[in-house]
């Protein structure tokens, strides 16, 4: 059920778009994308602000190496246990761009005769990295549809992505990598018992949705081609707030656009917000300099304590008998 | 909380069967508790129990085993001032078992 519900949901989305676009190009080509972008942008900002409303009362980095020591002869691990903002920046960059923490991943195995081993396990890191980077590159590549006079850097990305020069139109490496990585991430969720056990429909849905987006994209580029000039005209119409529906664009494109719209609208409501959340994780984005720099808790309040005077009152006689100094005789 | 029925009286005990109120303790109760574990309290046993009760009265805590060993050694002679001797008396552990019969709360280790 956990897999079937999202599976049929994605199928339904494709069908809705294929049928619906025939009925109303404007709905699927203009209004739904606009609504999706609005939900995405405001939903995202709303969520981040909602997180931001809660303070960070304590400085609680998870330290992952030797701290900055009082002694110069003990070498600090400045990236995994940063004590300065620069170090934190480095740690965050490593985390966000290279998935530092996942790189540490190990696989625990229990052998008969009470032996445990922890082997290096890099597949999740590799799969995750492949997925996110190819997704990013594909996104950036799409900017050639989003901009009049496509800036040179975007052309470079596009050029590099197709540098193998396979077929015509040229095969994008990231198309293959993305679909492969999504498949891998999906399969590991289905095949690894523990991961399957904790997976929710909300875990399968985005994977299947992104697979659908990738598949419709690939179909349009390599197989059932769409007139790209018209496609860009439509997209540019949206971006310049003068929407048009050019003739001759097939339903396949509307299916692609609808799936993307769904992803955008779904994003702020879901775990996909890890994209914003990773920057706000207090165990990663803080320096481990607690003993050196004061950290203020905005809601710190006075508490009821058991004072020394009360303590002495409780034990004065015993203290005196034991020869301990007391404040009041 | 759990209750123990003894000589027609309801006595409060904790989850591990230790008395909650030191005042509920009687010699008969100690013997009764020991018998449940199959132990007949001898003079040597009583020496330990009495010391525990004395110590507790003074410090509000059961002594650590080191102190117990030392004190028993002082009272009963150095050949008995060792852990082995105490374990012979109280196979379930001198701290845990003897404290129970002495009506002391369950001893804590490190917290």
């Amino acid at each position: 059920m956990k897999i079937l519900i999202p599976f049929f949901a994605v199928i339904a989305l494709v069908v809705i778009a294929l049928v619906g676009a025939q009925a109303s190009h404007a709905l699927f080509g203009i209004w739904i994308p606009y609504a999706a972008v609005l939900i995405f942008v405001f939903g995202f900002i709303f969520k981040v602000l909602k997180w931001g409303r809660s303070p960070v009362p304590f400085r609680i980095p998870t330290t992952a190496g030797q701290m900055k020591s009082f002694a110069p002869w003990i070498k600090q691990n400045k990236l995994d246990n940063p004590s300065s903002s620069l170090g934190v920046l480095g740690r965050m960059l490593l985390e966000v761009l290279a998935f530092r923490s996942l790189f540490r991943n190990t696989k625990t195995q229990l052998y008969p005769g009470t032996k445990l081993t922890y082997g290096s396990e890099k597949f999740l890191w590799l799969g995750g990295l492949a997925f996110h980077w190819s997704f990013l590159i594909i996104f950036v590549r799409h900017f050639r549809f989003f901009m009049q006079d496509v800036p040179y850097p975007i052309q470079i990305v596009e050029h590099l992505d197709s540098f193998l020069q396979i077929g015509a139109p040229l095969l994008y490496i990231t198309d293959v990598v993305l679909l492969g990585a999504v498949t891998f991430l999906f399969l590991r969720r289905v095949m690894m018992p523990q991961i399957k056990y904790i997976s929710l429909p909300a875990d399968y849905f985005p994977l299947l949705l992104i697979f659908g987006i990738g598949a419709t994209g690939v179909l349009m580029r390599y197989f059932a081609k769409v007139p790209v000039v018209s496609v860009k005209e439509l997209v540019m119409g949206l971006l310049t707030f003068s929407p048009v529906i050019p003739q001759g664009i097939s339903s396949l494109f509307y299916a692609h656009l609808f799936l993307v719209s769904t992803l955008l609208a779904y994003f702020p409501l879901s775990k996909l917000m890890h994209m914003g959340g990773v920057f706000l994780s207090p165990t990663r984005n803080m320096a481990n300099n607690n003993r050196e720099v004061r950290h203020i808790n905005p809601w710190n309040y006075p508490v009821h304590v058991h004072t020394y005077e009360e303590y002495e009152d409780d034990f004065r006689e015993k203290m005196k008998k034991a020869g301990l100094p007391v404040e009041k005789e | 909380m759990a209750m123990m029925d003894f000589q027609g009286k309801q006595i409060e005990v904790d989850d591990d069967g230790y008395l909650l109120n030191l005042d509920d303790w009687t010699k008969d109760l100690a013997e009764h508790l020991a018998k449940q574990d199959g132990i007949d309290l001898s003079e040597a046993h009583w020496e330990v129990i009495n010391f525990l009760r004395e110590y507790y009265k003074q410090y509000q805590i059961a002594p650590m085993i080191k102190i117990l060993v030392k004190e028993i050694g002082k009272a009963m002679g150095p050949e008995k001032g060792n852990t082995k001797y105490l374990y012979e008396l109280y196979p379930g552990g001198p701290a845990k078992q003897a404290c129970k019969y002495a009506g002391l709360p369950k001893p804590t280790g490190c917290v």
């Binding site: 981040v48 931001g52 596009e158 007139p227 860009k232 003068s242 905005p298 | -």
Partner: protein, 137 residues
């Protein structure tokens, strides 16, 4: 922590900068799809002769598939020495970018480049082939 807002604002600004980019980059620009020109002397002559403008294959097909067709043509010539293309109407054409395609479409700037620039496509045809001299009516 009191400087929490800094981080949050940072995230929001970073987010808006990335995702808002296409919007403000295009601000004030008109959305004009390229209009191709089919008015080279060769095309006009063809129209005079045949009473219509037509390519080796229908216009819709050419718009979507010309890259594939050119690729096939290249392979036919370079790998198999095959120089004749028979189209869907049964007509035969000499396979040659330079002498067939660019004979009519001798206005690369007004024809090829229009869409390619619009969509930032950089075909490598002209790494080998010579760009024809512009002939316009």
């Amino acid at each position: 922590m009191n400087n929490a807002w800094k981080i949050v604002i940072g995230v929001v600004i970073g987010f808006v900068a990335v995702f808002g980019f296409p919007f403000y980059y295009n601000l004030g620009k008109a959305n004009v799809a390229p209009k191709l020109k089919y008015d080279t002397p060769a095309i006009l002559e063809y129209e005079k002769e045949h009473g219509k403008k037509e390519c080796v294959e229908p216009k819709e097909f050419m718009a979507k598939e010309h890259m594939q067709l050119l690729n096939t043509w290249r392979d036919e010539v370079v790998r198999y020495g095959q120089r004749i293309y028979v189209n869907s109407r049964g007509e035969s054409f000499h396979i040659s970018l330079q002498n067939t395609c660019l004979n009519c479409h001798s206005n690369k700037k007004e024809f090829c480049d229009k869409c390619h620039n619009y969509l930032a496509v950089n075909p490598y045809c002209f790494s080998c082939h010579i760009v024809p001299k512009e002939k316009q009516s």
